[in-house]
Symmetry: C2
Subunit: 381 residues, 2 copies
C-alpha cells in the first residue's frame, strides 16, 4: 500500500527563525538530516564517502527516488603531508589521484572545495577539486527513510567529467517515457552540463554535453510549451563575472538556443551574489513554480521562489521577496561548506511542496511547505 | 564583366619574415591596409570612427561583400578629464554614454579596449568598453577596392548588445537561400553570440542568442553534414580560464548541442594563450579547412590552419605547426591593440585562399596564399 509522504508527522524546528514572522511555514523533518555519509557505502575499496547532498528527485510509482551526489576521496596517504586530489583520467579510463604537498607554499588549500596551485609568479596553474562526485540512487516508500544503493548510477567516465559529476536534476518526459537526468560535469576544460536518460533506473544512456562551459544548474521543464522544450540554466560569464538564471528553448532536449536572461541578482540582498535554478519547475494553475538557490556575497545559500507564466516561461510573473528557506539549523550552518541550503528537486503532492535539499554541502535534509502559502505570498508581491 | 580578385597583382612584403624559410608563401596586398577609418563615415553626427576591422566576408554574385566591424566613440567631451564610455540603453532605446573621470584613481584606463572601475576595497564594480561596434557592409568588384556603405547594416539594439556587436561571420545556407550572420554581442550580462540573416543585404532578421555567456567566435559550416548543421565556437570558462575551440551540432541553426572540445592550446607556443575559430570553414577534397586565430600569453594574435574530417568535422585530421600569418608589418604591429592578425572570413577561389583580416584591431588587410601549399604543409605535418 502506498503511504503518502505528506502524512509523515513533521515537527516545526524550535529555532526562533521558524515562528510566525516568516511569510511561509516551512517545516523541517524531525528526522533531519535524512541521509548522511553513514548511509552511503564507498563505491569501491580504498575510498571514503566525504559527503552526500544535492539530490535530484522524482516519484516513481509508489516510491520517491533521490539521485544523490556522493562525493568521495581516496583514503589518506601514509604521509600526512600528502593530499590526494582525485580525477578521472581519460587516458587510463579510471579515477586516479594527484599527490599534492600540503606544506608547499605554492599549493593553496584555503577553500575546502578545491586546491589551487600557483607558479612562482603567483599565476594560478592548477585548479583541482578536493573530492570527486558521482550519482547514486536512493529509494523510499515513505519519502523520509531511504535505502541507498551500493553502486553508483552514473560515475565519471570521460574528460568532461574529470573532476566529477554533480547536482543532478530529473525530468520525466511523457512524450517518450524517459527520465532525463542532467548534471554538472566538472573538468579542467570547463564546467558543462551533460544529459543522460533512463527508463528502468538500471541502464543509463548518455546523451552528451548540452551547454558549453561554464554552464550548470540546468532544469528542464517537464513538457513542451507551445511546441518547444524549455530549460533554465546558469551560465557564468568569465568577462563580466555574472552568475544568473537564463532560459533556453529546444526542439529535441539535446540542442538549445534562443537563450534569454530570465532573472538577475538583487544587489545587497540575500540574493545579491549569484542565483541559479534549482528544482525542476512544477506546474500549477498560477504558473510554473521554480524553487531556485541564491547566495549573497558571503556565499550564504538560501532558496527562493519564482512563478513563471504557464504559456510563456520566459516571463517571470512574480518573485518572492523573502527566502523560502535559509540556513538555520546546525546541520545547515556547519559542514564541508557551511551556511548552505541547495536543492536540485522538489515534489509537489497533495498541496504540499516537499523539498529535498543539500545542507552545508554535507548531508540531505527534508522540509515541507503548503503550496497555497507559497503562491499567496509570492503572488501578493 | 566580373574581374577575378585573384588576378590582382600582389607584391610580396619586403619583410625578411616573408622569405622562403616560411612553409607557405602568404602574400600581402601592396594596397594594405585596404580599408581604414578614412574610408568609413560615422554612423551619425557627433560620433567618430575609431577603427574598422574583423570583417566577415562572402562572394555575392560578381562582388565581394565584407561585413565590417566598425568601432565608434562619441566626440570627446569639452572637459579633457572626462572620458565618454558608450553603451546601448535598453530603457532609452538608443546608444548613450557614461561620463568617467580620467584622473579618478578608482577608474582604470590601462587597457585600450575597456575601462574598469573599482570600489575602495579594490573590487571590480564596472567594466565597460571604450568604444561601441556595429556592422557595416562594404562591397567590391575586384576584392581590393571597397565602397563602404554610409549606414550600419546591423546596429546594437537590445540589452545583449549593450557594449556593441562585433566580429561577424557569414555563412550562406543553400537550403533556404539565406546568408546567416552570427556575431559577438557584448554586454554586462556576458558575451554571447547572436544570429541574424538576410537574403537581400538590405533587411536583416534577428534570430536571437544562440550560445550562452561567454561564447564568441562562432563559425557555422555552410552545409549540413550527415543531416546536422555544425558550428565551431569559443566558450570561455570562468572557473578554469580556458579559451579554446569547441564544436556543436544543430538541427535548425538556432539550437545547438552535443558540444565537444575540438582543439586545445599548445602550451608555451604561438598558440599557447587562447585559440578561437576565425573563418567560416570551406570544403576541399582533403577536408574542411579552418583558418583560426591563436594568441600566445602576451596576446600576440596569429592565424593558424586546421583540417577537419569532411564527413565528421569533430575529428581534426591535421593542424599546421607554424602560424599561417603572424604580425609582421607596421599596420599589424602598431594600432589600437597591436600585434594582432584576426580574421572572420576567407574566400577560396581559383585555388587561392583570400584572407581578409583585421590588423592591430585598427584596419583591414588582405593577403593571398595558394590552397595547395597550405594543404601540403598541414597534411605533411
Amino acid at each position: 500500500m502506498k503511504s503518502s509522504p505528506s502524512a509523515i508527522s513533521l515537527q516545526p524546528e524550535k529555532s526562533p527563525a521558524n515562528v510566525s514572522t516568516k511569510p511561509w511555514n516551512v517545516v523541517r523533518s524531525d528526522k533531519n538530516p535524512i541521509i548522511t555519509v553513514k548511509n552511503v557505502k564507498p563505491s569501491r575499496p580504498g575510498w571514503k564517502v566525504e559527503y552526500v547532498m544535492n539530490a535530484g528527485c522524482h516519484r516513481v510509482g509508489a516510491e520517491v527516488f533521490l539521485l544523490l551526489r556522493v562525493a568521495e576521496t581516496p583514503l589518506p596517504d601514509k604521509d600526512p603531508n600528502i593530499f590526494l586530489a582525485p580525477y578521472f583520467s581519460e587516458k587510463h579510463g579510471e579515477v586516479l589521484f594527484r599527490r599534492l604537498e600540503k606544506n608547499d607554499p605554492l599549493n593553496d588549500f584555503r577553500d575546502s572545495r578545491f586546491v589551487l596551485r600557483y607558479d612562482d609568479k603567483g599565476k594560478e596553474v592548477l585548479r583541482v577539486l578536493t573530492s570527486i562526485s558521482h550519482l547514486r540512487l536512493a529509494r523510499s516508500r515513505d519519502g523520509i527513510n531511504f535505502t541507498v544503493e551500493e553502486k553508483p548510477a552514473l560515475y565519471p567516465s570521460n574528460k568532461y567529467e574529470e573532476f566529477g559529476i554533480e547536482d543532478p536534476r530529473i525530468t520525466y518526459i511523457a512524450d517518450d517515457g524517459f527520465y532525463y537526468i542532467n548534471y554538472s560535469a566538472c573538468a579542467s576544460l570547463g564546467v558543462t552540463t551533460n544529459l543522460a536518460r533512463t527508463k528502468d533506473w538500471k541502464t543509463y544512456e548518455r546523451l552528451g554535453c548540452i551547454f558549453t562551459p561554464d554552464n550548470k544548474d540546468v532544469c528542464i521543464f517537464p513538457r513542451k510549451i507551445n511546441g518547444k522544450y524549455y530549460a533554465m540554466c546558469r551560465p557564468a560569464s568569465a568577462e563580466y563575472r555574472r552568475r544568473e538564471i537564463w532560459i533556453s528553448e529546444s526542439p529535441d532536449l539535446i540542442s538549445w538556443g534562443n537563450h534569454k536572461l530570465l532573472m538577475e541578482v538583487n544587489t545587497n540582498d540575500w540574493d545579491g551574489g549569484r542565483i541559479g535554478c534549482s528544482a525542476v519547475p512544477f506546474e500549477t494553475d498560477k504558473g510554473w513554480v521554480e524553487i531556485y538557490h541564491a547566495a549573497d556575497t558571503t556565499h550564504r545559500y538560501c532558496l527562493g521562489v519564482a512563478i513563471l507564466d504557464r504559456d510563456n516561461p520566459t516571463k517571470v510573473i512574480a518573485k518572492g521577496k523573502a527566502p523560502l528557506m535559509e540556513p538555520e539549523t546546525d546541520y545547515e550552518k556547519y559542514g564541508f561548506f557551511g551556511n548552505v541550503i541547495f536543492n536540485c528537486g522538489v515534489l509537489c503532492e497533495d498541496g504540499i511542496i516537499k523539498i529535498y535539499y543539500g545542507a552545508a554541502d554535507t548531508c540531505m535534509g527534508y522540509a515541507e511547505v503548503p503550496l497555497q502559502e507559497v503562491l499567496d505570498f509570492v503572488l501578493k508581491g
